[in-house]
C-alpha cells in the first residue's frame, strides 16, 4: 500500500509537470508570480495606436504606475471593470498613474470606438492583435490586467474579473512606494 501511494504521488507530480499546471489564480485572480519582488518581469516593448491615431510606447509610461488592461467588446466581465478604470484615471492621474486599455477585438476599431464613446473612457484605448498578445506572454483570458510599477515592472497580474478594491489597494501601494522614495 505504501508503495502504491508513493507511485501515485510520483504519477501526480509527473502529470502536473507534463500538463504545465502552474500557480492557479487565487480569489482575486492573482497568480503567485504577481508577488512583488525583484524577479518581476519588465513590461515588453510595445508601440500601439490609440483611438485618435496617437502612438503609445514604453517611453510614454516611464515613471508611472500603469494599469494595463486587455479587454474586448464581446467580453462581459471586462465591461464591469471599465467604469472602475474611469474612476481610477480620474482619482490617480495627477499622482503619476494611467490606465491603458488594449482591445483585442478582431473586428478592428469600429466596435471599439463605439463602445469607448458610450463608456466615456478618459484613458487611452489601444488596439492590439495576436502579436501584442504574444509579446505579453499570450493573453488567452479576458480581462487580463497587469499593474506595472514606475520601473516598468509587472508587479501584479490578474486574469478574470477581480474586486475593484483589489486594484485600488495595489495602485495605492505602488503610488505610495514612489511617494516615499521621493521624500
Amino acid at each position: 500500500m505504501q508503495r502504491t501511494a508513493l507511485i501515485l504521488a510520483i504519477v501526480a507530480t509527473a502529470l502536473a509537470l507534463a500538463c504545465g499546471i502552474g500557480p492557479m489564480p487565487d480569489e482575486d485572480g492573482n497568480s503567485a508570480a504577481a508577488a512583488e519582488n525583484s524577479a518581476n518581469p519588465s513590461i515588453p516593448e510595445f508601440s500601439l495606436r490609440d483611438l485618435d491615431g496617437k502612438t503609445h510606447t514604453n517611453a510614454d509610461i516611464e515613471g508611472k504606475v500603469v494599469l494595463l488592461n486587455f479587454w474586448a467588446t464581446w467580453c462581459g466581465p471586462c465591461k464591469i471593470e471599465m467604469p472602475w478604470f474611469v474612476d481610477f484615471q480620474r482619482k490617480y492621474k495627477d499622482r503619476g498613474f494611467t490606465v491603458l486599455a488594449v482591445s483585442l477585438d478582431e473586428d478592428g476599431w469600429d466596435p471599439v470606438r463605439e463602445f469607448a464613446e458610450k463608456m466615456e473612457f478618459n484613458f487611452p484605448v489601444l488596439l492590439g492583435d495576436d502579436a501584442v498578445s504574444d509579446a505579453f506572454g499570450g493573453i488567452m483570458v479576458l480581462p487580463t490586467t497587469l499593474i506595472v510599477n514606475q520601473a516598468g515592472k509587472i508587479v501584479f497580474t490578474h486574469q478574470g474579473l477581480v474586486a475593484k478594491a483589489t486594484y485600488e489597494e495595489e495602485i495605492e501601494v505602488l503610488l505610495d512606494v514612489n511617494a516615499t522614495a521621493s521624500l
Binding site: M1, Q2, T4, A5, L6, L8, A9, V11, A12, L15, A16, C19, G20, I21, G22, M24, P25, G29, A72, T73, W74, C75, G76, P77, C78, K79, I80, L104, E106, P111, F115, G138, M140, V141, L142, P143, Q159, G160, L161
Partner: protein, 162 residues
Amino acid sequence: MRPHRSSATRLKAVAALFALLAAPLPAQQLGFAAATIEPSPGIRITDTGPLRVPIAVRIRRGYHINSDKPNDPYLIPTSLAWPDVPLRIDSVAYPPPEEVKYDFSDKPLSVYSSRVEIVTTFHVESVPADTGELRGSFRFQACNDKACLPPKTLPVRVPVRR
C-alpha cells in the same frame, strides 16, 4: 527499520492525486477549449430529398457560449457553417437558448451550456456514388462568470457512408 506510514498518510497521497486530476485546468493552457464537437457517427445518403445532420456540441462545465442570437450586439453569436458542402442547405436549426443572468451583465444573456445539438437539413438532389465527408466549421465564444476566452472556430466533419 522502515518508517511507519499511517493509513491517513496514504489516503492523503491518493486524495492529492484525485484532487489534481479533478482540478480544472487553467483556461490559458494551450489546447483548452470550452466547447468541443462530439465526433459524428456519420450519415448514409440513400435517397434524394431532405437529409438531417445533427451536430452535438459539449460545453465545459462552468462555461457558456453565446446562442446564435445573443441579445447584446457586441457578443459573438454561435454559428455553424458549411461553406464547401456540395449540397443545398435548407436550414440550420439552433436549439432554444437559456436566458441566464450573470453578475457581469445587467440583463439575462441568451446562452448555451452543457450539451446542445444543432441540426442542419440539407437537400439531396442526387445520391452520391462515393463515400466522403461533409466539412463545416463551428464558431463560438465562451465565458464563465469571471472571464472570457477568445472566439474560436472548430472544424466539423461528418463521414458520409454508403
